[in-house]
């Protein structure tokens, strides 16, 4: 019991630290591309703590306060159900009791809590952001889940640990053995991280930060915290499924960072798509490849 408690706290702390450092790197990377110096790598940590230390004077009914709590609870639960390391008793959380299908369900808790909170705030820009977010979710989920299903089909299991254990050497990484699934999942993954070509939901200029328009102070701090943790949780899930997992923390950070660098480079290259363009894109290219992959996996191989 004590072990699980310590382990969970360690996972949450690792996720938070990795989260703000990765985000800080992202801001510096973008700044250098724009020929600026950019903020320090700790900037997201400062921003987050500053928001947690601010006052909160808004009153929009109880749901407005429960929403961020629901989102944060969803993020922490997701973190705890993803095994961070293989062949180790540490950084496992409660992942032995869950599997990939449960994680798929937990990934939707965030947008749901967001919709509940923003809906009760009644701000038209927030509602517009949530509408865009849910539309994008509709677009990205189908290829994303088909990609995950391809991995589950390949290994005939839904257990993340079993999938990780099956990739024992670099030749057995799913990235090598099942590149189609990786190709399917990569772009929806960027969209679920709110990365650049698909970041119309929180567009600061168009919809005034979208779903977050009405949040300020502590609630925004909670939202930032969960966002950073969720970024790392999804990266670690991708590392587990496609890059063979990691046997120690340094390997985990290196692999997650490599994947983050790939998505950052893609985000920095492509400009923002409109909502309907996003959905159109997801329902043609990644979904087409995914259907092709399912046909290849089920009937031909």
């Amino acid at each position: 019991m004590l072990h699980i408690l310590l382990d969970s706290l360690a996972m949450i702390a690792l996720c938070y630290v990795m989260g703000f450092l990765f985000r800080g790197f992202y801001r510096q990377f973008n700044a250098r591309l724009q020929r600026r110096w950019g903020p320090s790598i700790w900037q997201n940590f400062y921003d987050n703590l500053k928001f947690l230390l601010k006052s909160e004077t808004l009153i929009h009914g109880p749901m407005f306060f429960f929403g961020p709590i629901i989102i944060a609870a969803g993020a922490i639960t997701t973190v705890l159900f993803i095994p961070f390391l293989k062949d180790s008793i540490w950084l496992q959380g409660v992942s032995a009791h869950g599997n990939l299908i449960l994680i798929i369900y937990l990934l939707v808790v965030g947008p749901l809590g967001n919709a509940l909170a923003v809906g009760s705030s009644g701000n038209p820009f927030g509602v517009m952001g949530v509408t865009r977010g849910l539309t994008r979710l509709m677009g990205l989920e189908v290829p994303f889940f088909l990609g995950l299903a391809l991995v589950m089909l390949q290994h005939e299991t839904a257990s993340v640990q079993a999938i990780m254990a099956a990739q024992d050497s670099i030749a057995h990484w799913n990235l090598i053995t099942n590149p189609l699934a990786f190709a399917v999942i990569l772009l929806p993954f960027i969209a679920s991280q709110n990365g650049s070509p698909f970041d119309v939901v929180g567009a600061p200029v168009e919809v005034y930060a979208g779903p977050r328009v009405e949040f300020g102070g502590r609630l925004l701090g909670v939202l930032m915290t969960q966002n950073m943790m969720m970024t790392v949780a999804k990266l670690v899930l991708m590392v587990d499924l496609f890059l063979g997992g990691a046997s120690n923390i340094f390997e985990l950070i290196a692999k997650a960072f490599a994947l983050f660098l790939l998505t950052t480079a893609i985000s920095a290259t492509f400009p923002r798509l409109k909502t309907e363009q996003t959905v159109d894109f997801f329902w043609t290219v990644p979904l087409g490849v995914a259907v092709l992959g399912v046909i290849l996996n089920v009937w031909l191989i």
């Binding site: 400062y46 921003d47 500053k50 230390l53 004077t57 600061p204 925004l220």
Partner: protein, 209 residues
């Protein structure tokens, strides 16, 4: 700092950044100093482009002067902002919106007034529909004078504000809280019947306005 010969251009800004981060404390506890240090490193700016000063905010935020290396970044809404930058003259019609925006910001919040128009009306000193002294209507933490001030002077103003936040000195929002009746009376004098409705600010004085 810009008139000294010890530094030049970019070096001056870097020196400002570094000097504002290492300053003596004003008899504060460890926690207060830490909180002040965190707050000064992260300022979200709501740039209220009322006058010509708005044009100076663009080079400040983009690649040439890059305010993001000071932790200064634009905020999308007043709810998320720490600093309200009033860039230039304020028409009475605009003042009402500025007051609403200021009151929507979460504490601690700061106001930077940009240009001479905010100090004494500037070239609009005899205009019938602009206010002359911004500090009578919302509490100003830092004035950056000039017509218009260059982005360098804005950076200097921002780092002076950062130094003040880091020292934990009482700032404008506390003044606004303490003297809410005086500020509201001043606002009522120029706005007249156009005052924002009472429910937008009555929580300042515990519901008794």
């Amino acid at each position: 700092m810009y008139h000294k010969s010890a530094c030049e251009g970019f070096q001056c800004e870097q020196q400002l950044l570094e000097s504002s981060l290492s300053q003596a404390d004003a008899g504060l506890g460890v926690v207060e100093r830490l909180v002040g240090w965190l707050r000064q490193r992260s300022l979200f700016v709501l740039a209220y482009g009322t006058g010509c000063g708005a044009i100076e905010m663009r080079p400040l935020m983009t690649s040439r002067f890059d305010a993001e290396r000071f932790g200064i970044i634009g905020a999308a809404t007043p709810r998320q902002a720490d600093v309200l930058v009033i860039s230039g003259y304020l028409a009475i019609k605009t003042l009402k919106r500025v007051i609403r925006s200021y009151e929507q910001m979460q504490e601690p919040k700061y106001v930077i007034a940009l240009g001479s128009c905010t100090i004494n009306g500037g070239m609009y000193w005899d205009s019938y529909n602009t206010i002359k002294c911004l500090d009578h209507y919302i509490p100003v933490d830092m004035y950056v004078n000039g017509c218009m001030p260059r982005p360098e002077s804005l950076i200097e103003g921002f780092s002076a504000l950062q130094a003040r936040i880091g020292r934990g000195e009482p700032s404008g929002y506390q003044r606004y809280r303490d003297n809410i009746d005086w500020y509201k009376a001043n606002q009522r004098r120029v706005l007249g019947d156009n005052m924002p409705p009472a429910y937008t600010y009555d929580w300042y004085s515990g519901g008794a306005v």
